[in-house]
């Protein structure tokens, strides 16, 4: 009964979305206030309906209702409750429903929190949001119905992929989708602005909180995915340039560029067409990611089950959304009024460079991900594009970006001089060079590149903090003076400093883990020991353990440091009985400065077990840094200026024109 209600709710939601996508647009065109206001009501109704559908599906999973095909395919009665819930979105149909839900919720959010937007803009944004929702709801109802029934109902389900039965991965999709779908709102803003024919500082001020929110969630989603890969895949890697990872990185890069580009529109009424393009691209890249994962054109460890028919539908949808947006852009953008002029050396110039580099980085990732497909179709030749390619092309491009990142905030608008800015950064530069030299000499003299990269990480942190110190005149006057300035600083500035410095933290963590980790591997029989760094690990035994839906071999490794007992690690190998899949559970001991990481390989009592130990320096900084980055974004989001006193378009001047 409940799944049918959920299904019905989806159908109703589609109808509402159709109305929501058309009537407000008509209303905005004609100035009809009632039609425009209808958009708000429709958005709230749609959110309610899709939420009900989602609740219905969740109920089916939680109660293990095996008459629903989706539950049979992806769940099992013995699965723990958390994974029954996360199993709702751990499959194609359910994750599409999650997309639709977040889409509807964001639409409702615009209706609820967009009171400061002019009516016509809000109506258009809500309408575009609804049209996107139509695409997803139609896709769900036509090809990927999560509520299909099975008769007769089987006694139990097929269980969830063991890789997905993990707390980290349970939250990875929702966070990621909050990011992807958040960019649908900025897309809607861009379309609305193009339809109105006007992009101005007010628009940029309104768009910013949505772009920030989406960006923060996407950052957290990607970081969580990377962290999950690190602790589940068993050898300390955290980024593999897998097509699906790339598919999430591209919208992130575009979103970062969008965030920064919008600042220029807001402050200087310039870079409008570029900002609008970025808003369209950020969401388009999100959709492209969805397409790549579900269509089967690329192989990936992440991909859902392949289905060319689904792929064609999503491609059509992608064409409609992106093609429509870009066509509108090609038509309307050239007539956007050009804004303030500026010199090449200026904050605008720095932000243009920022845009350019981020877009090139995104293009690199796009090219690398799609090239094998294109080459294969055109010539039949097969090539692989893997991590070595991206390390050779993506990483070097980050250097100018990082270098300019610390200089940019020192430059003034419209016209600035490089000299004074660089002078202020002398100390930061010196510290970075020293850090690089120390890293190169003291840690590992073989890898100069790693030392240089390490220097860049330090540069990012010290440079950002130096700029911040300069702003509050730290050390150049009484402390009270600095504290007063600190209190008066807009939150957006604090957020910027936090995020920029956090990027440095991530770089340090990534470089240290990738370049300077220690590795030890040995076959141990119970009682034997192995060394890594200053630690010695003794395998005291391996026992068989029964979990809720798996059997495991659980090793006990007693770790000592300089002879003193340090910790006990329990790496496992779990065999999930339903799917007959084996997953290694790593054991990690962290002190937030380095990870001691143990995995259990194959083996038996007679021959011993393969034990692998890793010491990953600064690994926790990768994810702490990413979380800090997102925190900076949230701090910026809480800036009062974004909510209170948001500008209304100056009517008096317009009347005079």
């Amino acid at each position: 009964m409940i799944p049918e209600l959920g299904h019905f709710a989806l159908v109703l939601a589609l109808v509402v979305a159709l109305l929501q996508g058309t009537l407000p647009l008509v209303g905005a065109q004609r100035g009809d206030r009632r039609l425009m206001a209808f958009g708000d009501v429709a958005a709230l109704t749609q959110a309610l309906l899709v939420a009900s559908a989602f609740a219905a599906l969740t109920q089916a999973f939680v109660t293990s209702d095996f008459s629903v095909a989706n539950v049979v395919a992806n769940s099992h009665s013995a699965k723990p409750l958390l994974y029954k819930i996360s199993g709702v979105w751990g499959n194609h149909e359910g994750s599409m429903l999650l997309w639709a839900l977040i889409l509807a919720l964001f639409g409702a959010a615009v209706a609820l929190f967009g009171a400061n937007l002019p009516e016509s803009l809000r109506a258009r944004v809500i309408a575009v949001q609804a049209l996107i929702g139509v695409g997803f709801l139609a896709f769900l109802l036509l090809t990927s119905n999560p509520f299909e029934r099975l008769a007769p109902a089987p006694p139990d389900g097929n269980g969830l992929n063991p890789l997905l039965q993990d707390p980290g991965l349970a939250f990875h999709p929702p966070l990621l989708y909050l990011g992807y779908v958040g960019f649908s709102v900025t897309y809607a803003f861009a379309i609305a602005a193009l339809l109105e024919g006007r992009v101005d500082p007010a628009w940029a001020r309104w768009v910013r909180p949505w772009a920030l929110a989406a960006w923060c969630f996407l950052t957290l989603g990607i970081a969580l995915g990377s962290w999950w890969a690190y602790y589940i895949l068993g050898w300390g890697g955290f980024w593999f340039w897998d097509p699906v990872e790339n598919a999430s990185l591209m919208p992130w890069l575009a979103g970062t560029a969008l965030l920064h580009s919008a600042i220029v529109v807001e402050k200087r009424d310039s870079l409008k067409s570029w900002t609008v393009l970025l808003a369209i691209l950020a969401f388009s890249l999100s959709l492209l990611g969805t397409f790549l994962v579900r269509s089967g054109v690329l192989t990936s460890v992440h991909a859902f089950a392949q289905d060319p028919a689904r792929g064609l539908y999503i491609l059509g949808f992608l064409l409609a959304v992106t093609g429509g947006g870009l066509a509108l852009y090609a038509w309307r953008a050239p007539s956007l009024a050009p804004g303030g002029l500026f010199q090449p050396i200026s904050r605008e110039g720095a932000l243009i460079l920022n845009n350019l580099l981020l877009c090139t980085l995104a293009a690199t990732v796009l090219l690398g991900t799609l090239y094998p497909l294109f080459l294969d179709l055109l010539t039949g030749n097969k090539v692989s594009v893997g991590p070595p390619f991206f390390n050779a092309t993506f990483v070097p491009l980050c250097a100018p970006l990082f270098a300019a990142l610390c200089v940019g905030p020192y430059l003034g608008w419209k016209r600035a001089e490089l000299g004074p800015a660089l002078r202020q950064l002398r100390l930061a530069f010196a510290v970075s060079v020293i850090a690089a030299i120390v890293a190169g000499v003291a840690i590992d003299s073989r890898s100069t590149l790693a030392a240089i990269a390490f220097g860049f990480g330090v540069w990012l942190i010290v440079g950002s903090l130096a700029e911040f110190a300069g702003r509050i005149r730290l050390g150049r006057g009484p402390v009270g003076d600095s504290l007063r300035r600190l209190r008066g600083l807009p939150r957006a500035t604090i957020g910027m400093t936090v995020s920029h410095a956090a990027l440095g933290v991530v770089v340090l963590g990534a470089v240290a883990t990738a370049a300077w980790h220690l590795e030890a591997m040995q076959t141990l029989k119970p009682g034997e020991a192995m060394r890594i760094g200053a630690y010695e690990a003794t395998l005291s035994g391996v026992e068989n353990v029964q979990g809720p839906n798996y059997l495991a071999e659980r090793a006990t490794l007693v770790v000592t440091r300089d002879g003193q007992p340090f910790t006990v690690l329990h790496p496992e190998r779990r065999l999930f009985t339903v799917q007959r899949r084996q997953i290694a559970e790593t054991a990690i001991q962290t002190n937030l400065l380095r990870d001691l990481y143990a995995t259990l390989g194959e083996g038996d009592r007679a021959a011993g077990w393969v034990v692998r130990l890793y010491l990953n320096p600064l690994a926790p900084w990768i994810w702490l840094g990413a979380a800090l980055c997102a925190l900076g974004g949230f701090i910026s989001l809480s800036d009062r200026r974004l909510r209170v006193g948001a500008p209304t378009r100056k009517r008096t001047l317009q009347a005079a024109e």
Partner: protein, 150 residues
């Protein structure tokens, strides 16, 4: 216990993980380091996007062994890669070769950067070369004074 042992032994699907076995490690640490570097750049042909070092597939194990044998026999890194390419094609290289077919791949993004950057610079320079703002005429100065309320 026995059931567990049998179940575990029935394992067919490999979990992604570093798959290099202690028994494969070469005695010479220099050669082993080279083997690992090379292994990271060779693709496991039966897996989705994994290097031979990360895959526990049979074929990956064979390839790892072959790499080490060739290194012990004195091949250079380039020769080991050529050995693999001769058998499996360019597909086996995780870093695509730099040849005519992959020019666009390697140069595409830097090209975009250069072209876009040049275009922007040119526009900026051209704008600067545009006629400078002419000074205000007398009439315009009078208007300005009235507007400013002086």
């Amino acid at each position: 216990m026995r059931r567990l042992a049998i179940l575990v032994a029935l394992l067919l699907l490999a979990a992604p993980a570093l798959a290099v076995d202690p028994s494969e490690i070469l005695k010479d640490p220099g050669l082993e380091a080279r083997a690992r570097t090379i292994g990271r750049e060779l693709r496991c042909v039966v897996c989705q996007n994994q290097s031979i070092d990360d895959s526990s597939a049979e074929v990956a194990r064979d390839m790892r062994r072959a790499v080490r044998e060739r290194l012990v026999a004195g091949d250079s890194d380039a020769q080991v890669f050529d050995f693999m390419v001769a058998r499996y094609g360019d597909y086996v290289l995780l870093k695509p070769p730099f040849k005519l077919g992959t020019l666009l791949l390697w140069l595409g993004a830097p090209l975009v950067l250069l072209v876009a950057g040049a275009a922007i610079l040119l526009r900026a320079l051209r704008r600067r070369a545009l006629a400078p703002v002419p000074p205000l005429s007398e009439e315009e100065r009078e208007r300005l004074k009235t507007l400013l309320g002086r």
